[in-house]
């Protein structure tokens, strides 16, 4: 059972099999007393599409395996839903994926929206980058 006092490592995933590495990375970053939560926010219309469901099923199975709680929200306002979720928990760290350069518009928006939360970016080669205030990554 989750409590608001328990620190949460929040992993943001998409409906891609490769996001398994983010869950594994989040699990590695988990400290004693922290809880791992996986969050995926998909557009509402994708609820009736099968595309990506297999990947999400796999990610759910991986979450079960590592003992993490995973939720897939179907919402057209990703940042608002993310804010709502983050307000429910005491998020100590966020883990997200990125392209090889470690930069993207999403990461910049994420950095702006949640300046107080440390964000770890997991690159495709599984290297981890700490996202700085500028939105740039540092290995």
């Amino acid at each position: 059972m989750a409590s608001n006092d328990i620190g949460v490592v929040l992993v943001l995933v998409t409906n891609q099999l490769s996001c398994e590495r983010l869950i594994r990375a989040g699990n590695d970053l988990l400290k004693k007393g922290q809880e791992l939560r996986i969050l995926s926010i998909c557009p509402k219309h994708s609820l009736r599409q099968h595309e990506g469901m297999e990947a999400l099923d796999h990610l759910l199975a991986v979450s079960d395996e590592v003992g993490a709680k995973m939720a897939i929200y179907y919402s057209d306002s990703a940042i608002e839903t993310l804010q709502m979720s983050i307000s429910r928990w005491k998020v100590d760290r966020m883990v997200v994926g990125s392209n090889p350069s470690g930069t993207s518009m999403f990461l910049a928006a994420l950095r702006t929206a949640f300046p107080q939360i440390p964000i770890t970016v997991v690159l495709p080669d599984c290297r981890r980058v700490e996202l700085e205030e500028s939105g740039q990554g540092k290995v």
Partner: protein, 617 residues
Amino acid sequence: MLKSGLFRNTFTLVLVALLLFAALTMGIFLPIARREFSEIYSEELTQKANYLSTHFVSYLLGLQTLDSFKARVGNNSAWGAQAFIFYGTELEIYTIAASTSDTAETQEAARLGALALAEELKPYAATVLESGVTATTTLSQPRNSGYIVVGVPIIPSETGFIVSESGAIGSVFMAKPLTEVNTSLSGLTLALLISMFAVLILMLLPSIGATRFLVKPINQMKDVSLAMAAGNFSARASTNQNNEIGELGSSLNFLAERLSTTINALQVERNRLELILNGLSEGIAAVDSNGALTLANPALLSAFGLSSLPENADRLALISDPDLWADFDNAAHKGDPLFRNFKWGNRVYRVMISPLESEADRLMGAVGIFHDITESERLEQTRREYVANVSHELRTPVAAIRGFAEALNDGMVKEEARQKYYCHILRESMRLSRLIDDLLELSRLQSGAVAFEKAPVDTRDLLLSFVDCYHARANEVGIELRLDLPENCPPVFSNADRIDQVLVILFDNALKFTPEGGAITLGAAVESDCVVLSLTDTGCGIAKDDLPHVFDRFFKADKSHTGSGTGLGLSIAREIMQLLGERIWVTSEEGKGTRFCFTLRRVQTEPTQLTLTDRSE
């Protein structure tokens, strides 16, 4: 009926209408009656005054004497009024009330009263004299209620009189006390009041009847609507009256019929939905917009150890995970569906939470479907392990055979070692063959399409034969094979070949784990309906954690999987026992030994039969 507000109101209305009618009648009647009475009396007094006027002229003409005229004038009683005759403006003759019982004082008082009244009439007498027309008036007096007075001019038909400009020589006034008018009017009013009261009393019963007639169908409609509210749509209102109330009854009946049809359809739909929900293996929970639990189907209740909805729809009493319900609330308030995993004890669920929207797209709550994937996850895990185990078991002998064959093929093996290599290849091939045979056997048994012919089996012979056969093999490895057979061991109803197969598996297993110098004991215990065969070794025993898994495929207590067995023997033994309808179990104490037991049903009276277990059940 009196308890009915409508009855009371309607009756009161009728009563008030009647009373109002009476009051208005009285209010209008009194002034009209008073005026009419005045006119009647005026007319009457005018006629009398004219009569006296004619006779006064006759007296003046000398046609009659004064005494004769006075006798004609008489007193008040003769005229029902007081008469005053003015010649010019001077009073000539007047009447007073005459009674034999009157005393002289009374007579005098009457005379003085008449003279006083005459004084009051003098101005009127002058007016009548001048105008020559009849005058009517009322005189108010403080001593009594006053008089109605009529004055007519005296107009002689002969000449020789000193006349006024109008032709009148005097006037006759008739004064009637208003008390007499009022008395007559009061009598009439009283009669009217008594009549109206009588009418009111007489109208009571018809009013009650009419009110009841009016209220009864409305009360009946009220009862019908209450019955409808209580769910009884067979009640019908009366439509006897051919008016708006009858039409209202018809409308109510139509409404009841339509509601009955609609509610029946809804009921059928609800029952169907309930049957579907109750029949679903997936758990379903719903909350309203306030977060209160409104639905939990039996599958969900059962999964979370409840038989009915918790008191006060307390959702935490059903599933004490606030995080899960927060997701329900989120879906109910934001309208965003979500899909999540949920672990409860050793059960794993996938939960789909969707908002409930009304036809007007208003959020009414949220519904969640709990799909228990524990079994499918376990099966998937088993499949993965099975593939991994089979691959591993196959890879080891195949790799060995390949290694030996490559060495032989390369000509790197010396002549004297070649035979040894062939032996290794043969041994690994046989191991491979055994593994494949066991896999096929297990697969065949698990498919369920295996028929075991059952027949009475002499347990004593079976066990003696087994010990006789395998005694030497045990001795070869320094282990003693013992037989613990009770006297009069009864026959069992089973399949001798399959029992033997199970015994061989257990014996092979015991041999592997029993060190040299140990013992294996084959025993039998007779119970009321069965014989329990047991095979006990003095080996290393099985760890407590491993005990539940010893019958699993490819389970090996030896974690390194270096043993000679395929890891399928005990699985095969369990499948055989299940197909025979028997039980097999194991008890063990680490470091002391292991005992495998299985039941064999005793022969009773049943004939030989063929058992075919349908595993799909």
